[in-house]
Amino acid sequence: MIELYVLLGLMIAGAIIAVEVKNLLSAVVAVGIVGLGLSIIFLLLKAPDVALTQIVVEIVAVILLIRATLHRDIALKSCGSRPFGALMGILFLGLAVVAAIVTFSSGLSPFGEPLMTVSRFYPMNAISGTGATNVVSSVILDYRAYDTLGEATVLFTAVIGVLTVMRSVGKKKEEDLQENNE
């Protein structure tokens, strides 16, 4: 379990660096550390499906962020001291810690237990029920295909949104360029 805590510490450090560092490219790289650490943690917790998806999506996200930030001058203004915000942050962090102590004072149950009736059904019956040896695949595409349909709809909506928003900007820029040329 010690390697999990080392990776968690690395991820927290990466997240803090990403917030605090002044250079945008360094911040993006630090965000990439968080995603890589999360992927390795998924592997250690024996979830290769999620680990694969996590690392691949993380690469895409980092590439997109680098392309979006590399040649752009975004003025980083250090906004002065905000005592009210800091106070509220500390207050809610304290509340969260108190709630966690109260909730978990009787001790956490071990990871993956108790196994629910539904989640016990899938490993027992997935191969005979669907014929897929990858149980995760049989869950997301057969038993829980409605969820996958909803997820696909979310992605579809996101892509349509990006294409629509960016297209209007691009057209406007194009017209500006033509006007400038004339």
Partner: protein
């Protein structure tokens, strides 16, 4: 230097990309087609295929992979994947219910052709995810190109 070398990154990056981009593409297809047997599936495989196109774009400059896979065709392919997924779901209605695995008895577990409609659903999702993400990437690059031309 020829005109090919004017855009994109250095010759080293271009050579390595030329050697590896096909392997990345094949790995994505492998992940998709074996999604019902080994870890992975439509989502991860689709993103890997989109990554191979992004790799071309980053190494050779913006317009190379847009010639192979333009922004208009990404929209078409993404819609095709979504429609394929829905049609598979609706075919299930004929046999018992929405998303019914109507092809299930064909093939033994562990074989490439098995698990009924799950591989087909994987292919549909991979088309959707890969084309959608690559479309987003192309859109952002085009936006940036206009910005850099403006400067």
């Amino acid at each position: 230097m020829s005109k090919e070398h004017e855009h994109g990154m250095t010759v080293i990056v271009k050579t390595v990309t030329r050697l590896t981009v096909g392997l990345i593409f094949l790995y994505g297809i492998y992940i998709i087609l074996h999604g019902h047997l080994t870890p992975g599936g439509g989502f991860a495989g689709g993103v890997i295929i989109a990554l191979s196109f992004m790799n071309l774009d980053l190494a050779f400059g913006g317009s190379v992979s847009a010639k192979i896979f333009s922004k208009g065709s990404t929209a078409v392919v993404e819609a095709l994947g979504a429609v394929m997924f829905l049609v598979l779901a609706l075919f299930g209605l004929r046999y018992g219910g929405f998303f019914d695995n109507f092809l299930h008895p064909d093939g033994d577990p562990g074989q490439l052709i098995s698990a009924g409609i799950i591989p087909l659903e994987n292919i549909a999702i991979s088309l959707k995810v890969g084309a959608g993400l690559f479309g987003i990437f192309l859109t952002l690059i085009v936006l940036q190109k206009f910005e850099s031309e403006k400067k």
